[in-house]
Symmetry: C2
Subunit: 490 residues, 2 copies
């Protein structure tokens, strides 16, 4: 730090490689350090609000690209609905208003005019979209309606954390209408599987899919499903939800259609969403004490080329790396870092902190030998590759890294998923090891509440096709009907 004459601002020395608090010392601080030091996010002058900086937003753009492709492949179209919802519309569905009203931002004045009816900034868009759907749906020919929206939403939060919980966040929300109950359930589960498969394939995050308990379901839904991932500190994170709304909203918003049998019927609806909070999951599942570790498919930059420039050989090394970058960039996302105001060592640290999957180093000696050095971000392994073999080796290596990252995350989850049928042991696991605990449950909300009060663990989901391991509820000892994944969650 130095104080400059002629200005009050302190200028930081950018040559300084910043330190990140180790996970073991303070996991929460590690998370914040990674985000601030890689410039993914920054705090706004309004409590609870943040800006997503280019290095964070580039990951959101990748998520959008890869998810949007899947939405379109499953027949969905994008649209855009108003940011504001009249208070009276929110109030139509009783559970929905109860769930969302406490965390809403209210617009009460437009221009110089005080509004007759307050408008709320959307916390989710069921109410406003259902109002449109009541006019758009007339006949069975109009169904299904398969619409998705990418947008911002606002939920007034008391305590916030970058990406995981902020008063404004970005997400997508799908809203569909169907002729039959079966079709709606099929859609709900199809989109849940889209999320699960996307997280696994692209983000290298294994997620458990299942149904939410009544207590945890979406306000106004018939049934909610979710995909749940395990962070490296043993806490769970809900990465996406898919709701079968049944006919709750159709009835209060009067969304009806004339069916082929000439009967007027209510539609069956679904909604499903995934938000910028999965960027938090990406950081916590893969990150290490040196910073971010990005899976190659999510990385805005997959390979960074750092030339080792000496006075004598600068020109020929620069020429080589420029050719290399030009050659590789048709198939890969390549960054050539030829800045001269930073040293190679500084750049190595900086790109490692930013999680770029592979670094290529090229110096005069490599040039003489006709080789380059490859360094994996995830393992730190070094590899010498001949110049000719490089174009074939790189995609292979990236694929390997992607697979290894998923494999390690899977292994971590398996090691941290414990079956338990004894409540004393349950409490001990939650306190000492965390992770997922698979236990039997009687289905009673009182038991769920008791577990939460005793241990801060909640039922994350009731996975499909998982039978209770014990015939006794973990909390009350009465007859168990379901197998639940419990965990402390973000």
């Amino acid at each position: 730090m130095e104080q400059k004459a002629g200005g009050e601002k302190q200028v930081q020395d950018k040559e300084f490689v910043k330190e990140i608090t180790p996970k073991e010392v303070d996991y929460s601080q590690w998370y914040i350090d990674v985000i601030l030091k890689t410039k993914m996010m920054d705090y706004a002058p309004i409590k609870g609000f943040m800006a997503i900086r280019p290095s964070g937003y580039a990951i959101w753009e990748k998520i959008q690209e890869l998810l949007d492709r899947r939405f379109k492949e499953t027949g969905h179209q994008n649209a855009y609905f108003p940011l504001f919802i009249p208070q009276s519309l929110l109030q139509k569905e009783a559970e929905h208003v109860e769930g969302f009203a406490p965390e809403v931002a209210w617009v009460t004045k437009g221009g110089s005019e005080v509004l007759a009816e307050p408008l709320l900034v959307r916390p989710t868009s069921e109410a406003i979209i259902c109002d449109f759907y009541s006019r758009w749906v007339q006949s069975w020919r109009d169904l299904p309606i398969l619409i998705n929206q990418w947008c911002n939403v606002v939920r007034w939060e008391k305590s916030t954390k970058p990406f995981l919980r902020t008063s404004e966040f970005l997400w997508q929300e799908g809203h569909t209408c169907h002729r039959t109950e079966e079709e709606a359930e099929e859609e709900t589960l199809k989109m849940l599987e889209v999320y699960r498969e996307f997280l696994e394939t692209e983000m290298a995050i294994p997620a458990v899919a299942g149904r939410k308990s009544e207590r945890e379901k979406f306000a106004g839904a018939l049934r909610t499903y979710s995909v749940e991932a395990l962070m490296s500190d043993g806490r769970a994170l809900q990465a996406g939800t898919s709701h079968n709304l049944g006919q709750h909203f159709a009835r209060v918003f009067d969304i009806t259609f004339l069916d082929q049998d000439d009967q007027l019927k209510y539609v069956w609806q679904t909604s499903w969403g995934l938000s910028t909070r999965v960027i938090g999951a990406l950081i916590m599942v893969h990150g290490d004490d040196r910073g971010l570790v990005l899976p190659p498919r999510m990385a805005p930059i997959q390979v960074v080329i750092v030339p080792i420039l000496t006075k004598k050989d600068k020109d020929r090394v620069l020429k080589e790396v420029q050719e290399l970058a030009g050659e590789l960039k048709t198939d890969l996302r390549i960054k050539l870092d030829d800045r001269e105001e930073y040293s190679p060592g500084w750049k190595f640290n900086d790109w490692e902190m930013r999680g770029i999957p592979v670094r290529i180093e090229v110096g005069p000696r490599d040039l003489d030998k006709g080789q380059v050095v490859l360094v994996r971000r995830d393992t730190g392994e070094k590899e010498f590759v001949s110049r000719e073999a490089l174009p074939a080796r790189l995609p292979q290596l990236l694929e390997q890294i992607q697979n290894d990252m998923l494999e390690r995350a899977l292994q971590f989850r398996e090691e941290n998923t414990r079956s338990c049928s004894d409540y004393m042991e349950f409490k001990k696991i939650i306190e000492e090891d965390r992770g997922f605990i698979v236990s039997s449950w009687c289905g009673n909300a009182a038991c769920e509440e008791k577990v939460k009060n005793d241990t801060k663990a909640t039922i994350r989901c009731l996975p499909f096709d998982l039978k209770p391991g014990s015939d006794k509820c973990i909390a009350c000892g009465e007859k168990a009907s379901e197998a639940a994944f419990f965990a402390r969650a973000y």
Copy 2:
């Protein structure tokens, strides 16, 4: 219309091909009809707000894709800034607050808490972004900052029109910081040219680029530039703006950097934006009495295949069009309309209304002859093409349509751009022909105001390198210094 027992809702007969008011009868109604009947937009239950339906949003997605590619090629990155701006931040720049405060939506309550300081919903983001930039910029090494944001903004409007003026709209806003005045001016003009070239190349909309007069410039800018297009009713539309902000915002938000010469300096800034209103321009430049006409590069569907299905030959025709669609879709955006609940004639009308550039018809007789029928949306021309020649012919035809559409728009603009040095004649042209009028101007705001009051025409822009045709100002007759494009505008 029929009233169904068991429900209060009226069900419209979808087989009915809807009529569009001819342009000549009522241009404004024609515009609304096209939008509502092609389902591009619909009115929200809040005055001035609208939903962008899938067929409208698909065009916005194309605009985003094609513009975003250009932003990235010119070195920009995307980010996301908060929706809300504290009142005190807006008030920092005097001209800026004066320009925007009257049309702002105010959030006064969050959850159950009444806010100590009201927040405004962003009408544009200079104020909140400059607050971040004051912390992000420290050294000359941090410059330039080249950031863009895709988002929604709210401006409380009294009178609204789909796409052209709505209280909420979608746009992109670029916000950059530079070391020198020259660099900022270069960026401002570079992005103006990106807009002009994008409109011409992709949207087939010729636009005049130039500087705005003081009266029309952005609140807080040093200089504003714009691209101005001519609609088919002879009114102009501002399609994009690019502002050189000078150091106005840097000074009030204290955005300084330590330069290489060890001096603390204010940055030089730009901002530039283009919104969903250009969809309105697309409709008005190219549309006709049968509805939308989309340039092939903007069309979400470029080619629609409509099979002529008869009982006897249904299977073999379906097989043929399915093969055809499969074959063509690798290179083109193809839609096969094989719905059986609509007749071919109904489909022809419907896809024409939606502006799909090329229709392919295939019936049993075409099959026998080994041919298909191509119909151009823009001219209605029919063409018989052999099945073998089709894959080569289609891209060629689409290219031709794109060029012809630009050519026609250019010709229309040329025919409707009139030089004028006599004020009586000026008034007559504006009343009878509209279009652009090129006249000399003394540079005095009073003359600009007089022209506006007399004729409702404003100075759209002062094109680059255009010398005054007369040495006398069109309004006052005093010495002219500039050549201006006047028009009535949207």
